[in-house]
């Protein structure tokens, strides 16, 4: 039980951080949550987190860094990495969109502010929702649903996220100027690989 909750929360956190700039609410939450900070040691040790007020922290430190790692220098979209022509598939032929549709999910572009559904933040949030669904299934003792969901998660990780995210995240780790994004990338990298191992093991068990 703890396991699934942990996984769900982690996906949610990573998704949020990598999808859009932090707002005050989110910033406060992270600052005050030891469990999160324990997972992001560099951020925890970072002086400005405590000393600089939120507005300045965001506008002068965090947001520029975010723009750098998600817009200016690096491209957080799967199709950029996996297509021969290195184009982002913004239209109807994106296989990731099809997967979402298969589970009756569509991306609200207004809320996400992305040009394509295969943004890393969106894909991570998708994993989060799958975990939530698995949690619900476990609460209802629906064994079949649980194993099906695990299978979907595993498949999504392997056919999509893991095909490109490590590459992107490594680049982020080295490009990031603030420990928020460096640590987030590091954590994401480790977590994705570890989660994949976990799912593989649990499926073959």
């Amino acid at each position: 039980m703890q396991n699934i909750q942990a996984r769900s929360n982690l996906y949610a956190l990573l998704s949020r951080i990598l999808l859009q700039e932090l707002d005050d609410e989110m910033l406060d939450m992270i600052r005050n949550d030891d469990a999160i900070l324990e997972l992001m040691p560099n951020l925890q040790a970072w002086e400005p987190l405590r000393s600089v007020e939120n507005r300045v922290l965001r506008e002068e430190y965090l947001n520029p860094d975010f723009v750098n790692i998600s817009l200016l220098h690096l491209i957080p979209y799967e199709t950029f990495y996996v297509r021969d022509d290195q184009m982002i598939e913004t239209g109807g032929a994106n296989p990731v969109t099809d997967i979402y549709s298969a589970y009756d999910f569509i991306v609200d572009y207004e809320a996400a502010r992305v040009v394509s559904t295969d943004h890393i933040g969106v894909e991570l949030e998708f994993m989060h929702h799958l975990c939530e669904a698995q949690f619900k299934a476990m609460m209802e003792s629906d064994e079949d649903a649980v194993s099906e969901l695990k299978e979907v998660q595993h498949r999504f990780l392997n056919t999509h996220l893991l095909q490109w995210a490590p590459l992107y995240l490594l680049s982020v780790k080295y490009e990031a100027r603030t420990p928020l994004y460096a640590d987030a990338a590091d954590m994401a990298l480790e977590f994705l690989l570890s989660d994949n191992e976990y799912l593989s093991a649990s499926m073959h068990a």
Partner: protein, 1138 residues
């Protein structure tokens, strides 16, 4: 490796805020996809149906085709509360009815969208065995007729003080119209004398029902019924009457080997078009061959295996050529001919055999009188019809005729044909083609067989007038209604006693011909000299009949026609000149029982006002059960549009005979609810239930209906069609039943003691108790003994097929034509003008003279009823040029689109009628020396719009209109009070007092007439306009791209040509072509109708052999007067010497 760090990741479980609140939340459920998966709609269905099953007809959902084009359900999903931007779903109630746009009565279904109470489309009725769920363009166009922005919204009458044709109209009510008309009729009938019952006339164009309105006139005791038959099909019926005493041909197209279209292009004409086309296609799939005989290449001819373009009127020679070879080459189906041709009657009539020798038909009277002698005699009789003669007379190349003979023989006894219009409608003596054609079929035994040809009355159901048991006075199926006692000389004049139907097109001529009237009055006949009430219905005589200006003269004359009314939903050339125009609707707006012989079965359609039926099925009840259709149409936003059945019920009950003193009121009084008129459900439950036993059994045993008050009516209401009997072949061989005491033939019982059999002919006679006066010695022929068996036989006096028409030879003065015959040389042609076409090539003496063929219809056109349909106008534009062979066009220097003058001259009177200016179109599709220009062209109107001064101000009552939701209880229950009554007139939605007149289909013209000459010129073509009524449906009226100016009103120039024997108006014209003169425009006409009057008189006086002082009867008594049962008194006549 990462599993170690797993433990650290477990810290994720301890986040203070749950993941759900952390995540941005960029996903939403796909409402679009969900809306699709929760619906029944899918782009990959398992099967595709042609129609939904009957159980779903009250509640069927289908996606909107127009809305679909926003990307379909993949992009937008299905519209629902959660998904408002989805593709719209129509929630349909499907109500069956029957088309009324030609005579075929194909089934239709109205798809009524419940959310807006509108008919979104008409499709076919899959339950209909003849039309099989399919229709032609005219059927689908019923919707555009229903929502025609120019249709009449309420009853109107001529403004007091204005003249007929002036075009001043005021709004009135149904009550006012019925009381004025009813009182006039009642006053007339109360006079009680003979003339009073001949002074009211009902003149129908397209009846599309089997017996209802005739039963009305029958109950009124009037000889009032008039029809358009003699400008249409009379010459086609005459041979069927002579051979079989029936009315029409009934072919089995679907099983034929040879489909021989020689008088009705069944794959493009109204008899029976779509149904026949489907059956013919089925036959061709199985290897049948299609032959079309016509001087013009129709669509059917264009796809035929053999097209024979014979000179108009010469087709009999082709049939007799076939007969000749069949006889000479030993191909006669002896068994059939011996059993079913009346050779016994002929061979014992020595007097006639001698006559034949005198005429040179045969060389001597045969010594033996047996069957072989008969065949030998025929061989000699038909020997002159050689291939050479056929080629010479018909202008058809020899190889085509030989090919036809081969096909004829190859097909055995599975030859289907239909004798109707084409050559019959166009030519003097056109009936001879049917007369000789049936002989060719009979010689091969192709009558009554599978794939063969048979007769109509075995394949049709006529019960529309037989609901009498629902009334107080009529008795079951009208048995208590006395036959009519008078004979109307205006419709059945003495010069044409054998006229197939009424001499309808001569009405204005006979009414104007005072000399003629006086002549017969002096000789003892009570000839009406005026009409007190004249009622044309679904008929436009001014435009479609020959000599239209003569119609205008009489219609305008208030002394000759005192009160005129037209039952019609739209404007027409005729309506403009009457006193009352009362809107009753077309296909989906009326009740009719309508059956036609389109296959060897007995089926009937049930035409219904679909909006009324939809409302009733959802639980609505009318305020006045006798005006339910009127109330329903008001609710549907159509206006004060009623239907005929309810109109006649109420007119007869409340207005013609309000106190019952004429005995008419009780004829139409409801038995269930005395004191009120009979209702639709009461009438039809009786009409169908009393006369169709299989239907009654089915309906009353069906769980859905057995506990209803009107099970039979409700069965038909839901199905729209019924087939009582199928696979009807060789019906003449039905064995007569013997129950010990009686013989039972054709449903009637005859006491065996009163039976006698003629040993020579085999005819079985019974003493006639009713109508004995019709038969010699009061002995009625009831059956026939053939090869030792007693069978029902045909309806002729000798119960067989009459090769020899004895009554024609003896009492009725045409012995030379009593057998199938055609003149064999030029001398005989001159001596026998009655059976030679008036446009035969022998009359084409002037250079540039031609035979003009006018009688064809365009497949998407209805004579009068297509001009108000935007769909039909768009696909046809009423385009009606004159088709001329390229060789003739070249010789005269005519090019496509040129205006040319067509002068009409008559070969009997020698007078010139005038001319019309037409558009020339050279083609390879017409016989050289002939022309083709359909007489369905030249529609006109004098004004583009009509303003009715009190049209809005009299409309007092607001009724929630269409656009209303049928599921809204309050709206559903509401109904207009006092519909049709004074003070309760409805406010018409989107109507400001002015409306157009057939804006989609009729151009504007000006006419002039002075009693002698008439002229017409088009002023303006059809143009785009803005619709106000039904604006959303007609928003494309601003996109009209046709002007409709390619035809001319040639009918006005045409003189009447009454065939001396059948009474048919022979449509073809002898014409002379000239280039147009300067100032001529296509559509101009000029007519000298004084000359036309002399032409009709010439045909009458030079060619007929009418009644004289020796005549005992007005007409052969055994030939029914169509629709109106007459008494002996009416049939008998005494004519004084001249």
């Amino acid at each position: 490796m990462f599993l170690e760090s797993r433990r650290s990741f477990m810290k994720g479980a301890a986040f203070t805020v749950a993941g759900a609140a952390i995540a941005k939340g960029v996903f939403s459920t796909d409402a679009v996809a969900e809306s699709v998966s929760q619906s029944k709609f899918t782009n990959t269905p398992d099967t595709l149906s042609f129609y939904p099953p009957l159980e779903q007809w009250s509640d069927f959902q289908e996606l909107s085709g127009e809305d679909w084009k926003r990307g379909g359900i993949n992009r937008k999903g299905v519209q629902s509360a959660d998904n408002p931007n989805g593709i719209e779903v129509h929630d349909y109630m499907i109500v069956p009815t029957a088309c009324s746009n030609c005579e075929a009565s194909c089934g239709l279904t109205a798809w009524i969208d419940k959310k807006s109470f509108t008919v979104k489309k008409y499709m076919g009725n899959p339950l209909h065995p003849g039309s099989r769920g399919r229709n032609c363009a005219k059927g689908y166009a019923a919707q555009s007729q229903m929502y025609d922005p120019d249709r009449l919204a309420f009853p109107i009458k001529r403004a007091p003080g204005s003249a007929r044709g002036e075009g001043k109209w005021i709004r009135t009510t149904w009550d006012e119209a019925m009381s004025t008309i009813g009182k006039k009729m009642g006053d007339m009938l109360r006079k009680g004398d003979e003339l009073s019952r001949k002074s009211v006339m009902y003149h129908v164009g397209r009846p599309n029902e089997n017996g209802f309105v005739p039963s009305v006139w029958h109950s009124l005791g009037c000889d009032a019924y008039n029809s358009h038959t003699n400008i249409c099909s009379a010459n086609g019926r005459t041979p069927t009457i002579q051979w079989a005493n029936d009315d029409r041909t009934s072919p089995d197209w679907a099983n034929a080997k040879l489909v021989f279209l020689n008088s009705s292009h069944a794959a493009d004409a109204g008899h029976y078009f779509q149904q026949s086309a489907g059956f013919i296609a089925d036959a061709r799939k199985k290897g049948a061959k299609l032959v079309v005989m016509d001087p013009r290449m129709s669509n059917s001819a264009g796809m035929a295996d053999l097209w024979i373009a014979a000179w108009p009127g010469t087709e009999p020679v082709i049939y007799l050529y076939l007969v000749n070879r069949i006889l000479q080459e030993g191909k006669v189906n002896k068994k059939f001919v011996r059993r079913w041709i009346n050779w016994e009657v002929m061979m014992r009539n020595t007097k006639y055999l001698e006559f034949m020798v005198e005429k040179g038909y045969i060389s001597k009277v045969p010594q033996e009188r047996d069957f072989n002698a008969f065949l030998e005699m025929l061989k000699e009789l038909y020997a002159p019809y050689t291939l050479d003669y056929a080629v010479k007379e018909t202008h058809v190349p020899a190889y085509k005729l030989e090919k036809l003979y081969e096909m004829f023989i190859w097909a055995g006894d599975a030859i289907s044909t239909y004798f109707w219009r084409a050559t019959a409608a166009g030519n003097r003596g056109g009936w001879v083609s049917g007369r000789t054609g049936y002989l060719a079929l009979a010689m091969r035994g192709a009558i009554g067989t599978v794939g063969g040809t048979f007769f109509h009355h075995w394949h049709v159901i006529s019960v529309g007038g037989k609901g009498g048991s629902a009334t107080v006075g009529q008795g079951k199926s009208g048995s208590n209604v006395a036959p009519v006692d008078v004979w109307n000389e205006l419709t059945w004049p003495p010069e044409w006693p054998l006229s197939t139907y009424e001499m309808s097109y001569l009405l204005p001529h006979l009414m104007s011909d005072t000399e003629w009237q006086q002549k017969w009055i002096k000789r003892g006949l009570n000839v009406p000299q005026k009409l007190s009430v004249y009622i044309p219905r679904m008929y436009n005589p001014v435009w479609i009949n020959p000599d239209g200006f003569r119609w205008l003269e009489v219609l305008k004359n208030e002394q000759k026609m005192e009160l005129t009314m037209n039952l019609s939903p739209v404007w027409s050339e005729t309506n403009w000149y009457v006193d009352y125009v009362l809107p009753v609707g077309l296909a989906g707006e009326r009740h009719d029982q309508h059956s036609e012989a389109t296959m060897p079965a007995r089926w009937t359609s049930f035409r219904q006002p679909v909006m009324r039926v939809a409302l009733e099925k959802m639980g609505w009840k009318p305020k006045n059960p006798n005006r339910a259709t009127l109330e329903a149409h008001i609710k549907a936003g159509l206006g004060e549009v009623w239907e005929e059945n309810e109109f006649w019920f109420e007119l007869c009950f409340n207005y013609v005979d309000p106190d019952g003193s004429l005995g008419i009121r009780q004829m139409w009084e409801s038995k269930r609810h005395p004191g009120t008129p009979v209702t639709i459900a009461e009438w039809y439950d009786a009409a169908f239930g009393d006369n169709l036993p299989n239907l009654k059994k089915t309906a009353t045993n069906d769980a859905r209906y057995k506990n209803s008050e009107f099970p039979v009516y409700e069965y038909l209401r839901d199905h729209g069609v019924w087939m009582e009997e199928n696979n009807i072949y060789h019906a003449q061989e039905r064995l007569v039943k013997d129950d010990g005491e009686h013989l039972i033939s054709h449903g009637h019982k005859y006491h065996k003691e009163e039976i006698s059999i003629d040993k020579e002919t085999g005819v079985v006679y019974a003493t006639a108790h009713k109508n004995g006066w019709k038969y010699k010695d009061h002995k009625e022929p009831v059956a026939i003994e053939v090869d030792g068996e007693i069978m029902e036989g045909f309806a002729t006096l000798d119960k067989k097929l009459d090769f020899f028409v004895e009554w024609l030879a003896d009492e009725w003065k045409w012995p030379e034509y009593a057998i199938p015959f055609y003149p064999r040389n030029e001398a005989e042609k001159k001596a026998m003008p009655q059976i030679v076409s008036h446009v035969n090539h022998m009359y084409m003496t002037e250079p540039n003279s031609y035979a003009l063929n006018t009688v064809f219809r365009l497949p998407y056109n209805i004579h009068t009823r297509s001009a108000n349909s935007k769909h039909l106008m768009e696909i046809s534009q009423n385009h009606d040029p004159i088709w001329i062979n390229t060789v003739d066009a070249k010789r005269q220097g005519f090019k496509r689109g040129d205006a040319i003058r067509v002068r009409i001259v008559d070969s009997v009177s020698g007078l010139e009628s005038g001319y019309f200016v037409a558009m020339a179109v050279p083609t390879e599709g017409v016989l050289p020396g002939t022309l083709a220009c359909s007489h369905h062209g030249g529609r006109w109107k004098l004004k583009n719009a009509v303003t009715i001064p009190n049209g809005v101000s009299d409309g007092k009552v607001n009724v929630p209109m269409a656009g209303a939701d049928m599921n809204d209880e309050a709206w559903l229950k509401s109904s207009p009070e006092n519909a049709g009554r004074e003070g309760a007139q409805i406010k018409i939605e989107d109507y400001d007092g002015t409306a157009g007149m057939n804006g989609f289909g009729i151009p504007t013209a000006e006419i002039s007439m002075d009693g002698k000459e008439g002229k017409m010129k088009y002023v303006e073509g059809i143009k785009p306009f803005k619709s106000s009524r039904f604006a959303a449906y007609n928003r494309d009226s601003d996109n009209i791209w046709w002007d409709g100016l390619s035809g001319s009103w040639q009918n006005a120039v045409a003189p009447a040509h009454p065939d001396p024997i059948s009474g048919m108006h022979c449509w073809h014209q002898k014409v002379i072509l000239e280039p147009a003169q300067s100032g001529d425009k296509i559509g101009d006409i000029y007519v000298n109708y004084e000359n036309n009057f002399k032409t009709y008189q010439a045909w009458r006086d030079q060619l007929t052999r009418g009644l004289d002082s020796n005549s005992e009867f007005r007409r052969p008594p055994h030939i029914k007067r169509p629709w109106v049962p007459l008494s002996e008194k009416a049939y008998r006549v005494t004519i004084k010497d001249a």
